[in-house]
Symmetry: C2
Subunit: 376 residues, 2 copies
């Protein structure tokens, strides 16, 4: 170990009163996890929850790191994939944890991407009415998004994340080394959320990404640490101001109303990854803002150009062989849990880094933007 | 309507910061519910969740009362009985609510006993990561216990209430008129929890019950209102000091470690109602305290005498045809979620109204008390 591996991890503090916690970002954090985890434990026992894919890559390293510090470790390996975020797997996970006789002072450790983090966090929030949990996110998407802010949940036949809780981890360990094990498409999907923070209210960060984003993707350690740190800090700031999503937090949904609809239409399959939907959705949100005369068309073009330049899709037409209709996409939007008094929630922009939550959006304009986007 | 029916309901304020709420206790509250419910609604739409038995008795009255005030009402009728507090029914309830397109500003109304309140409260806490709910408890047990304090939950094969959340209602409407529809045994089961508050730390209230408890049971309106009010105030005070059960709140478990074990051994069937287990458990807790030389034997005798005088069981032998063993009961206790670092949590007493949470209890003494209680 030499160079950046030995540097202290970057620390982002998420201020939420007595639910505050730290996010540590750095290389080799899984192998050195015990020093950060041990001080937070009640009972000196953790249960690691992970999926079959991540288990092969990182489980033994984490188990060994904790056992070396005399922390008792049990592990539960769930099937990989979005299907695991279900009532059925939640019930099964709770049963396994109760069979292990977890106590209120036990700690769950979520080792994996968003699916594992969301499901494990939800289980932690309801087992014995709430036990501690720690996140060890292993995807870029989880490191910059789902591990910050305390949203947990599962999917139902009615939609994604419609059942869940707000429940904060005690600690997040984001080991940047895990990103080297991701496929390019998965990494890019996480990058869409990184770019989102620049677009929401940090135009300088977006400019930085226009120059350095490709380094983040290609694996430059200091670029990754910086980008993840800025992203977590941005999300922590927004979440800290509005933990339960009544106002400012809604800006984090930039691109998500469109994106979720695209994902839903693909049945949340691998046809469209979450970040791909968000990338296309952000382009649509800026196009809609430009169409409404709110945002300079040049800014909308800049968004599209940067996302495309790193290799993200920016049009629904990037999905091979699928026929889209605006009606169906709007129908999906109407089922989103951000719907309030029957109105769909959009995030619009007056420019890069100048997003806001409009009181009302004319659906005929949304339809026009969708039709333009899906016209071959 | 005349006399007590026209008096304003008694109001108990549960102080929990921004999760504070009021409990209203009085006659005819279901028929006058709209005036209390309407000011708390976001969207002017509620979903009433109830069970088949309660629906026959009270659903139409509540629906009509709300509709008269132009509040939109949907109703969901679940099967009656403890079996409804399951993952399966939780999933089904969430699905029905999502199919009705509930929004974050929608409100659930739990109309029924503890099963309905616990399940509905849990569903409210996880649907869309939390929507408002209101409790309309229709049993004495629910009015004095489960409707105060925000504990929600379901049962699993591993035990009762091992999965759930802390989630506060916005309002509790305790209509004392609903108690007239209860069977004697169910009413007595609730009365055990009323007596518990006197035993925990209100000796004067226990003395009052020794004189007036039978009136509470026989249906005297002012005695009921007083006893429910004192009970709610006692629980609210204890919960307010310790919302998440780390210290003082544990006193509310007086009789429950023994009681839950008795219930568990009966498979949580009608062989032993919750309050019956608590009544026997409180007698055992005082017997154990006396055995340990902590409490005057006269106080233990007084507890037994009062509970028996109103018609509550005070010995496991009251269950016909069941063979008990101390080993199995202690095994059940070891599975309770109040177990901490492998130690079973007991509440003991130095006298009536002088309970405390001991650091350690010698299990051989517990075994001795159990063996004395189950010896024919």
């Amino acid at each position: 170990m030499s160079g950046p591996d030995r540097s202290a991890p970057e620390r982002v503090h998420v201020e939420l009163g007595n639910r505050s916690y730290d996010i540590l970002i750095g290389h080799n954090l899984i192998n050195t996890a015990a020093q950060y985890v041990a001080p937070l434990l009640g009972r000196r026992h953790v249960v690691i929850v992970t999926d079959a894919n991540v288990a092969k890559l990182h489980l033994e390293a984490l188990e060994q790191a904790l056992k070396r510090a005399d922390i008792g470790v049990d592990s539960i390996i769930l099937p990989a994939g979005e299907g695991t975020k279900s009532f059925q797997e939640l019930e099964r996970l709770c049963g396994l944890l109760l069979d292990m006789k977890v106590e209120r002072t036990s700690t769950l450790v979520a080792l994996g991407g968003g699916v594992i983090g969301d499901l494990t966090g939800f289980a932690a929030s309801i087992i014995l009415r709430g036990i501690n949990f720690i996140q060890v996110p292993t995807t870029l998407l989880a490191q910059v998004d789902s591990s910050v802010g305390g949203k947990t949940g599962i999917n139902t036949p009615q939609g994604k994340n419609l059942v869940g809780s707000f429940y904060q981890p005690r600690l997040v360990l984001s080991d940047t080394g895990t990103l080297d094990t991701l496929g390019r498409r998965e990494l890019l999907s996480g990058y869409a959320e990184v770019a989102k923070y620049g677009l929401i209210d940090e135009p300088d960060f977006f400019s930085w990404l226009e120059t350095n984003g490709i380094d983040v993707i290609e694996g430059d350690e200091s670029a990754r640490r910086y980008a993840i740190g800025v992203s977590c800090r941005a999300k922590a700031r927004i979440v800290g101001a509005d933990e339960r999503e009544s106002g400012a937090r809604a800006l984090l949904n930039l691109g998500h109303t469109f994106g979720h609809a695209l994902e839903a239409e693909c049945g949340f399959s691998d046809e469209m990854l979450h970040g791909e939907g968000v990338a296309i959705g952000m382009v649509m949100a800026f196009d809609l803002s430009a169409t409404l005369g709110l945002c300079p068309p040049e800014d909308a073009a800049r968004v599209q150009r940067h996302l495309a330049s790193v290799g993200l899709p920016t049009s629904p037409l990037s999905v091979q062989g699928r026929i889209w209709t605006a009606e169906r996409l709007i129908e999906h939007m109407g089922r989103d849990k951000k719907v309030k008094d029957g109105r769909i929630g959009f995030v619009l922009a007056r420019g890069i880094g100048q997003t806001f939550h409009p009181a009302h959006v004319d659906l005929s304009q949304v339809t026009a933007v969708l039709n333009a986007a899906i016209a071959a």
